[in-house]
C-alpha cells in the first residue's frame, strides 16, 4: 500500500509544511549567524584563547660579556645565581620551616617576619643572589608562597687589584662604575624571546617563531696586563703604607701603542663585597683626581723654550741666589745653585731657573703648548668621570703666574694626563691617544714637539736620574731610565697648606727606545720624607724593572748594580 494510492486518506493542511520549512530555515539562519559571529567577528579573541592553551612565550636570557685582561685572564664574569622571593599573602610555613629557611638564607627569623609582614603584600625579596645549591635546598623545604628567580651575579676574581679600572655592576647586573659602566652598551647584550608550543607536561614540543633573538653581551679585552698591574698595585700599596700616605696612584702606558698597561689606586675596595665602602676608596685618583703637578711640568716649559729657539740645552741661566722676587712673591730653590745650564735646571729641578726660562716665553705659546700636550681637556679614554683639568686663559696670566706655571703651580692636571703628555717626550714629540681597551692596530700620534727637542729633553730627564739629579732612586739595573720628580704643596680651601705634599714621579724607559711610561703619585706622605725623588721614584723603579722584564725589553745599559745615594746626598728639588 502506498500513500499515492490513497490520496484522500490524509489531507494535511499546507501551512503545517510551511511551519516546518520556516523552522528549519530559521534554525539554519541562527546557526549561520552564530558561525559568522564566531568566525568573522570574534575570531581574533578565540584564536588567542586557543593559542593560550598550548603556546607560551619564553624569555631567552642573554649573558653579560666577560671582561678580560690582555692575556685573556678573566677580570669579570657573570654566573647565574638565584633570588628568593615570596608573596606574603600566600606564605604558609611552620615555625620549624621558618627556622630552616632563616638558616639557609642566613637571616634572623625576626627579620624574615618583618619582611613578610611589611607594607608589600604581593611581592618581597627574601634574599637576592644566593648560590644555586642553596636555592635548591630552599626549594626542597616546599614552603608555600616562596618562589625563585634566576639572576646573574658578577664576580671579580682579581678583586681590589683591578677594582678601579673594571668597576662593578649593581644588583640588577648593570654597570655602575668604571669599564662596566663605560661599556655597558656592548657588555650587556639584550635578552630575546620566542614563542613555543608546550605539551600537557610542560615540555617544549615546537618552536613557532623567534620573536627576538637573544644577543649575548660581547666580551671585552682590556689593555691592562694582569701581571704588571699586580706588580704595580703591590709596589704602590707598599709605598703608601711605608710613608703612611693618604693615598697613591700609578699609571703605566705602553709608549708604542698608547695602551694603559696598569692603573692602580690606593686605597681601594673589593668589588665582590661592597658592604662598607667609602668615597675615598671608590675614587679613581689616576683619572678623576686633579692636582698641581709641580716640577714634573718643567720639562714642557724647557721643551717649548727649545722649540722656539729661545735657549739651547747649554744656555747658562743664573739662578743665584736661589730666590726670584716678582711682584711681592718670592720663588725659592730648595738648594740654591749658581749659574746653571738649561739641562742642569731640569736635572737639579731649579724653580728659579724654570721661572726665568718661562718669563722669556710668550704666554700664549705656553698655554698653547699645555693645551697641545693634553692639559685642560679630558684624555678621551671613554672612562666615566674623566677630569679635564684647568689651564687658564693666557690673557689672564700675570707674570708671577706664568713663572709659577713653569714649575707646575697654578695649573691642575690628572695623573693620566701627565703620563700621556710624557709620551710626547718618549716618542720624539708625538703625543699618543690612550686606550683602556686592547688595540691591535698601531696608532698614529699627533706631533706636538719637534723630534730634536724631545730628544734633547729626554737627555736632560736621563740626567735627572743620574747621581747629582733629583731622582737617582728611579734608576734600575739593565735599562736606562729618564724621568722627573715632582713635589707640590697641597692646595686646600684656596691656599697652600704647610706639611701636606703630593710627591710624584713621571718617567720612561729604556731611554734608547722608550717602551713604557710610568707615572706615580703619592698623596700626603707623612713620615718625614716627602720629596718625589725619595717617595715616588722608588715605586717607579720597582714597577719599571719588573714590567720591562715582563715585556721582554732588551737591555740598553750594563748590568751593574745601581748604587743608591746615601741619606741626604741626592739633590733635593724645590717645592
Amino acid at each position: 500500500m502506498s500513500y499515492a494510492a490513497t490520496p484522500a486518506l490524509v489531507r494535511l493542511p499546507i501551512w503545517r509544511a510551511r511551519i516546518v520549512l520556516f523552522a528549519f530555515v530559521g534554525a539554519f539562519a541562527v546557526l549561520l549567524g552564530r558561525s559568522v559571529w564566531l568566525q568573522a567577528v570574534k575570531t581574533g579573541f578565540l584564536q588567542e584563547r586557543g593559542e593560550a592553551r598550548y603556546s607560551r612565550v619564553l624569555e631567552v636570557p642573554a649573558t653579560r660579556g666577560r671582561i678580560l685582561d690582555r692575556r685573556g685572564d678573566a677580570l669579570a664574569i657573570s654566573t647565574p645565581v638565584k633570588s628568593i622571593w615570596a608573596i606574603p599573602e600566600d606564605f604558609r610555613a611552620s615555625p620549624a620551616q621558618l627556622r630552616q629557611l632563616g638558616r639557609l638564607l642566613d637571616a634572623e627569623p625576626r627579620e624574615l617576619h618583618r619582611k613578610l609582614n611589611g607594607a608589600a603584600r604581593d611581592f618581597v625579596y627574601l634574599k637576592r643572589q644566593i648560590p644555586p645549591e642553596t636555592a635548591e635546598r630552599v626549594a626542597e623545604l616546599g614552603i608555600a608562597g616562596v618562589y625563585q628567580q634566576r639572576e646573574y651575579r658578577r664576580y671579580y676574581p682579581s678583586g681590589e687589584t683591578m677594582a678601579h679600572v673594571v668597576g662593578f655592576t649593581g644588583v640588577d647586573d648593570t654597570g655602575q662604575e668604571g669599564i662596566e659602566l663605560a661599556f655597558q652598551g656592548s657588555l650587556a647584550g639584550a635578552p630575546g624571546s620566542r614563542r613555543v608550543i608546550k605539551d600537557r607536561l610542560g615540555h617544549v614540543v615546537e618552536d613557532i617563531e623567534s620573536i627576538r633573538a637573544a644577543q649575548d653581551g660581547k666580551d671585552l679585552s682590556l689593555a691592562l696586563d694582569g701581571k704588571i698591574q699586580s706588580l704595580a698595585f703591590a709596589a704602590l700599596k707598599q709605598a703608601v703604607d711605608t710613608h703612611k700616605a693618604k693615598g697613591g696612584a700609578l699609571v703605566a702606558i705602553d709608549a708604542r701603542s698608547g695602551e694603559v698597561l696598569a692603573l692602580a689606586n690606593v686605597p681601594t675596595y673589593n668589588p665582590n663585597n661592597r658592604a662598607r665602602m667609602t668615597g675615598a676608596q671608590l675614587r679613581n685618583r689616576v683619572i678623576t683626581d686633579l692636582f698641581e703637578p709641580g716640577s714634573t711640568l718643567k720639562p714642557f716649559t724647557v721643551a717649548l723654550a727649545l722649540d722656539l729657539g729661545k735657549v739651547t740645552p747649554d744656555t747658562v741661566i743664573q739662578t743665584a741666589p736661589g730666590r726670584l722676587t716678582i711682584a711681592n712673591y718670592t720663588i725659592h730653590d730648595a738648594h740654591p745653585g749658581g749659574a746653571m745650564s738649561v739641562a742642569q735646571v731640569i736635572q737639579k729641578s731649579s724653580n728659579v731657573g724654570a721661572a726665568k726660562i718661562a718669563l722669556s716665553l710668550p704666554r700664549e705659546e705656553m698655554r698653547e703648548l699645555f693645551r697641545r700636550v693634553g692639559f685642560g681637556a679630558p684624555p678621551q679614554l671613554g672612562f666615566p668621570g674623566e677630569a679635564a683639568g684647568k689651564v687658564r686663559e693666557a690673557r689672564t696670566w700675570r707674570p708671577i703666574e706664568q713663572a709659577t706655571m713653569a714649575y707646575g703651580h697654578g695649573i691642575s692636571v690628572s695623573l693620566v694626563q701627565l703620563a700621556r703628555a710624557y709620551t710626547a717626550l718618549a716618542r720624539d714629540g708625538e703625543l699618543l691617544p690612550l686606550s683602556l681597551v686592547k688595540t691591535e692596530m698601531p696608532v698614529a700620534g699627533r706631533r706636538v714637539l719637534s723630534a730634536a727637542t724631545a730628544r734633547a729633553v729626554r737627555a736632560m730627564l736621563e740626567a735627572a736620574t743620574q747621581p747629582g739629579g733629583t731622582a737617582p732612586r728611579a734608576r734600575i739595573m739593565g735599562w736606562r731610565v729618564a724621568g722627573k720628580t715632582g713635589t707640590a704643596r697641597k692646595l686646600e680651601h684656596g691656599g697652600y697648606v704647610a706639611h701636606k705634599y703630593i710627591a710624584s714621579f713621571v718617567g720612561f724607559a729604556p731611554v734608547s727606545e722608550p717602551r713604557l711610561v710610568v707615572a706615580v703619585m703619592i698623596d700626603e706622605p707623612s713620615t718625614g720624607q716627602y720629596y718625589g725623588g725619595a717617595v715616588a721614584a722608588p715605586v717607579f723603579a720597582q714597577v719599571m724593572q719588573g714590567a720591562l722584564r715582563l715585556l721582554q725589553v732588551p737591555h740598553d745599559a750594563p748590568l751593574t748594580p745601581v748604587e743608591l745615594p746615601g741619606e741626604g746626598e741626592e739633590a733635593r728639588e724645590s717645592t
Binding site: D73, I77, S230, G478, P554
Partner: protein, 93 residues
C-alpha cells in the same frame, strides 16, 4: 571510476600517515635540539665558573707568594740572565 577512487583513498591515507610520522619525528628532533641547547647553556655557565676559579687560583699575587714562600723561587739576578737577540726583528712573533 570506483577503482580510481580507491587508489586515491590509499594515496591519501599514505600521505596522512607520512605527515603524522614526519611531524612526530620533527618534534622528537626538536626535543633533542632543545635539550642539547640547554646542555650547551649549562656547559657555558660551568665554563664561566671554571674560568672564574682558574682566575682566582691563578692570581698573580698568589702565584708570586707561593713561588717565593713555599717553593723558594726568586727572580734571577739580571747579571746572570743572557738575553738572546732574535736574528731579525721580523722573525719575532
Amino acid at each position: 571510476m570506483a577503482k580510481l577512487n580507491l587508489l586515491l583513498l590509499l594515496v591519501l591515507l599514505a600521505c596522512a600517515f607520512g605527515l603524522v610520522t614526519s611531524q612526530h619525528q620533527g618534534r622528537k628532533a626538536f626535543a633533542a635540539l632543545e635539550s642539547e641547547t640547554t646542555r650547551a647553556r649549562e656547559l657555558d655557565v660551568e665554563y664561566g665558573q671554571l674560568q672564574l676559579e682558574a682566575s682566582t687560583w691563578g692570581l698573580h699575587a698568589r702565584v708570586a707568594r707561593i713561588a717565593a714562600e713555599t717553593l723558594g723561587l726568586r727572580a734571577p739576578d739580571p747579571r746572570r740572565v743572557r738575553v738572546v737577540e732574535p736574528a731579525t726583528a721580523a722573525a719575532r712573533p
